[in-house]
Symmetry: C2
Subunit: 551 residues, 2 copies
Amino acid sequence: MKIALAQIDCAVGDFDGNLKKIIQFSVDAKKKGASIVVFPEMALTGYPVEDLALRRSFLEASKRALNFLVARSSDEDMLDLMLVIGTLSPTKRTPDANRVAIARNSAYAILNGEIITKYDKHLLPNTGVFDEYRVFEEGTSEGSFKLNGERFQLFICADIWNLEQISDRVKATNKDSRIDHIIVINASPFEVRKQSTRYNIARQLIHGTDISLTYVNMVGGQDDLVFDGASFCMFRGKVFARAKKFREELLVVDIEKNNSPTQENFALHSESYDTESIYRALVLGLRDYVQKNGFTEVVLGLSGGIDSALCAVIAKDAVGAKNVMGILMPSKFSSKSSIDDALETVNLNGFKHCIQSIEPIYDAYVAELRMSSVAQENIQARIRGNILMNYANTNPSALVIATGNKSELAVGYSTIYGDAVGGFAPIKDVLKSKVYELAVWRNGHEFEKNNGSVIPKNSITKPPSAELRADQKDQDSLPDYAVLDAMLELYVENAHGKDELINAGYDRELVEEVVRMVDRAEWKRRQYPPGPKVSALAFGRDRRLPITSRF
Amino acid sequence: MKIALAQIDCAVGDFDGNLKKIIQFSVDAKKKGASIVVFPEMALTGYPVEDLALRRSFLEASKRALNFLVARSSDEDMLDLMLVIGTLSPTKRTPDANRVAIARNSAYAILNGEIITKYDKHLLPNTGVFDEYRVFEEGTSEGSFKLNGERFQLFICADIWNLEQISDRVKATNKDSRIDHIIVINASPFEVRKQSTRYNIARQLIHGTDISLTYVNMVGGQDDLVFDGASFCMFRGKVFARAKKFREELLVVDIEKNNSPTQENFALHSESYDTESIYRALVLGLRDYVQKNGFTEVVLGLSGGIDSALCAVIAKDAVGAKNVMGILMPSKFSSKSSIDDALETVNLNGFKHCIQSIEPIYDAYVAELRMSSVAQENIQARIRGNILMNYANTNPSALVIATGNKSELAVGYSTIYGDAVGGFAPIKDVLKSKVYELAVWRNGHEFEKNNGSVIPKNSITKPPSAELRADQKDQDSLPDYAVLDAMLELYVENAHGKDELINAGYDRELVEEVVRMVDRAEWKRRQYPPGPKVSALAFGRDRRLPITSRF
C-alpha cells in the first residue's frame, strides 16, 4: 500500500489557494498509485492562525472549504484516495469567559465524498511560541480508520510529545484493535537540531511494536516561524523514507512491512549540518514573507559589514539577485574599505544598487539641533533608516529588511528607528558568531543554482564596526563576541539567572553588565521587526518578558 | 473585627521595594486596629511577571522575600496581625516539555512568624492579555483559616469568575465548615465598565448567604496594563466599603455582620463616569511607566491637534507640567492656527517648549532623494520622530511618547518610525471619538490639583489634519470618525467579521475598505510602543493576529 506525504507550503487564511494546492497534490498522489495522501496539520487554514481561530467568520470559512474538499473527493481523479488533512472543527462545549475557544485543531480522513473519521488534537502546546490552549479546545476522540484491512491511527503534532500518555494509549489500543500504522500530521517549526528530537520521539512511540509511523510536516515561512518539512516514515526505529527539507514535495512511499528499512544517511549532529539548516531556514522564512505579503523586491542598506552582506545574499537566495536593491549610505566615518566591501558584495552577486551619501542630510541635522555624541551617532543610523523607508514608500513592492543579528538585539547595540527599520529581520535570531559561520558556509557552497563566494572575504575578516564615529569598533562597547555569545546562550537561550552565569565561570561584573544590557533593551526588541526563529529560544513571543522590571 | 484592604502599587521584580511597602502598610494596619491586612495578588513579585515566572532565579528571590516577611511578622509592630499576601510558590509536579511551569500563583496567610495556610489559584486565565496557563500550574488546595472564631476562605482573582464551579464549592464548604468571610486577592486590570462586572460576579458568589466578601485589587501601571484598585467589601449584595480608584490606599473596615450596608454612591454606568475612569487610567499608566523605568521627563511633539494636546495634558497630570517638554515642529504645510493652538497648549499648561522647524532638514532630504508624494509626507513625520529621539538621546531622563490614537493605529493612518516613535503611547487604546470626549471632560474638570481648561478649544473644534500636504484633512483618506469608530468597535473590539458589519447596516464597499486597512496595518502595530489597555480589546497581546494572512 502506498502512502503519499504531501509536504505543502500553506498560507494562513488563503482557503482558495490552499484548497487548490491540496486538490492538485491529491490528484498527483492518485496518479502515482497512492491509497492515502496525508497533508500537514491545519493545511487548509494555514498555521498558526492565532486569534483568527476565535472568529466565527474564520471557522465558517474553514467549514466551507472542507465541505468543498469533501465533495471534490468523489470526483474521478480523486476516487478511492483517502485524504488525511488538518483544519479546524467546531467545539462541543459553549465558550465562556475563561475559555473562549470555538474551535478544535482537527484531522479529517475523507474518502469518496465522505468524512470517514475525525481526530481532534489532544495536547495543546501553550509554551514557547505556541498559544494553542488560548485558541483551541482539546479533543478526546480516538480517530482511527481501516483501509484495505489495515488500521490507521491519527495523531496531531504535540500529541506524540507526551510519550507517557500517548504510548500507553497506543499500546492499549493496539492490544484491543491492532494498530498497523500511525499517521502524525504536524506544523512543527524549525529550530536547530529539532529533527533528531523528532526522530527520537517517533522512535520511542513505536518502540517494541510493528507499527509504521508516517510523520508529515508543513513547509514554509509564516511571520516568525519556519516549517522545515523533512517529513518521514519510520519502522522498527529506522527512518526508511524522508522528504526534502525546506521545500514542497509529494513523497510517495510503500509502507508494506516487507520494506527493508535503511538508516537515514547524513550526519544529523554535525556543525555544518546545523549551519546549512539554519541558512535554509532563513532563506525560506524571508522568501515566504516576501511572497505571501505581495512584495517582489527586497531593499537593504549595504554597509560593507558582514551582517548586511549575509542578509543580502539570503535575500538573493530567496528572491533572486535582480530583486535585491542594496543602498550604500556612506558617511565621513565610513572607511574606504567599507565602501569597497559593499561594492564587492554588489559585484559578486549582481545586485541592483545605488550610493547615497548621508552627509548633506546629516549636516542639516547638525546645523539645526543640539546633539549629544550618542545622538550624533544615532541620527546617522536614522537617516539611513529614513532613506530605506523612502525607497519602499516610493517603490511599494519593495520590502525593507533590518540586518541586525541576535547579539546586537540582545544587548541593545542597535539604533531603534535606525538600523532597526524594516518589515522583516532575517538574522534577528542568529548570534554574531553564527553569522560568521553562515557566511563562511555560504561562501563555500552553492545554494540552489547560485554559486558560492558571495560574501567579500574582508567583510568576514575585519573587526566589526558600526562606523558611527571615528575609529569605532564594536568591541569598544561590547565584550568579545565569542564571550558575549556564550553568555547570551546561557542567559537568553537557556533562560539561566545571573548566579548560574557566574557559576559557569564568568566574571561577576561582566555578568551584571551583560544582564543589565539585555534587560534594558527589552523596549527596543518590542519594536523590532519579526524574523525567523531558528534557535531554541528566540526573542518575541517565544520569550515574553515585561519591559518594566526591576529584577 | 477590622480588616485592612492594602491596595498597593507594586513593581515587577522589585522585591526590596515591594517588601518595604508591604511592611509599612502592615504596621499601619495594626496601628489602626486591624486584625487582618490583605494585599493584592502577586503583591510581593509585582504582576504580571510573564515568563519571569519560569525562571528558577526569580522563584528563589520570591521565596527569600516571603521568608523575610514571615520572620518580620513576629516583630512587635506586626504581632497578632494576619497578613494575606500574593506571591509565587513552587509547583508539586516536575515540569515537562508540554507544561514548563515551575510556580503557582498563591496566597499566603501569615501570622506571628508562621504560615497559617496557603491557597493556590485554581483557574488560570489564558485569554485576552493573560498567559497564566503558560507560566503557572493550577492549584487544588482549599485555603481557609480561622481567626477569632470566624472562618475565612481565600480565592485569587479569576477563581471567582467561574461562578458555577466556585459557587458550588462555596456552598458545599459552607454547609460543612461554615465560611463567614471570603477574601479575594486580585490583580485585575482596568477596562471600561469592569467595576460593575466585578460587583456582579461578587454579588452572585455570595448570593443567598451571610458571607462577607473582601475584594482587594492591585493599583498601578505595568507596561500595557493599568490596575485600578477600587477594592471593596460586600455583604448581602451591597457594597459597604470601597477604596479609591487609581491610587494607593489602606482602607480599614469593620466586617462585623451588624454593619449596615450602604449602596455605593455613584453612577457606574454614566458616560462621564466612563470617561473619567479612562482618563485616570491613562494618567496612572503613563505615570507608572515613567517612574518605574527611571525617567523623570516626558517629551512629545505638539502639532496643535487634539491628540498631542490630550497626551501632553495626560503627561502633566502624570508627572507635572515642569517635566513635560513640548516640541513644535512646523513645516510649510503647518497652518498658522496650528502653531497658535500648540502654543496655546503650552501657555495653558506651563510646559517647557521649543520650536524647531523641519524645513531645512526636509529640504536636505528632497535635494538628495527621489521621492513619491507618499514618501514626501512620511519623511516629514520621520524628521519629527528623529528630532524627538534626538532630544531623548541628548536628555536620557526624557521619555518620548507617541501620540497616536486607536482609530489611526487601526487603519494604519500613521507613519511608522515617524509619529509612531516613542517608548510609550498613552492613547493607543482610545478611539478618536473618545479622544474628543476625554478632552472635553478634562477641560471641564480639575484633575488632582490641576485646573480644567487645558486644551485649546480650537484643537477640539477644527477638522483633524495630519498637515503633511497642502489642505490635507484626515477625512480625505478616511471615513468620518464617527462612522469609522463605530465600525472599529465591531471589527476590532468585538472581533466581528465582515458579514456582521454588513448586516449591521454598513455599506459593503466601505466595510471591505476598512477591514482591508485594518488587516494591512498589522505589521505597523507590531512595532508600535506599548500603551495602557482601557477597552475590552486592545491592540497588542490582547489581540494576537498573524501579519501574513489572506483572510
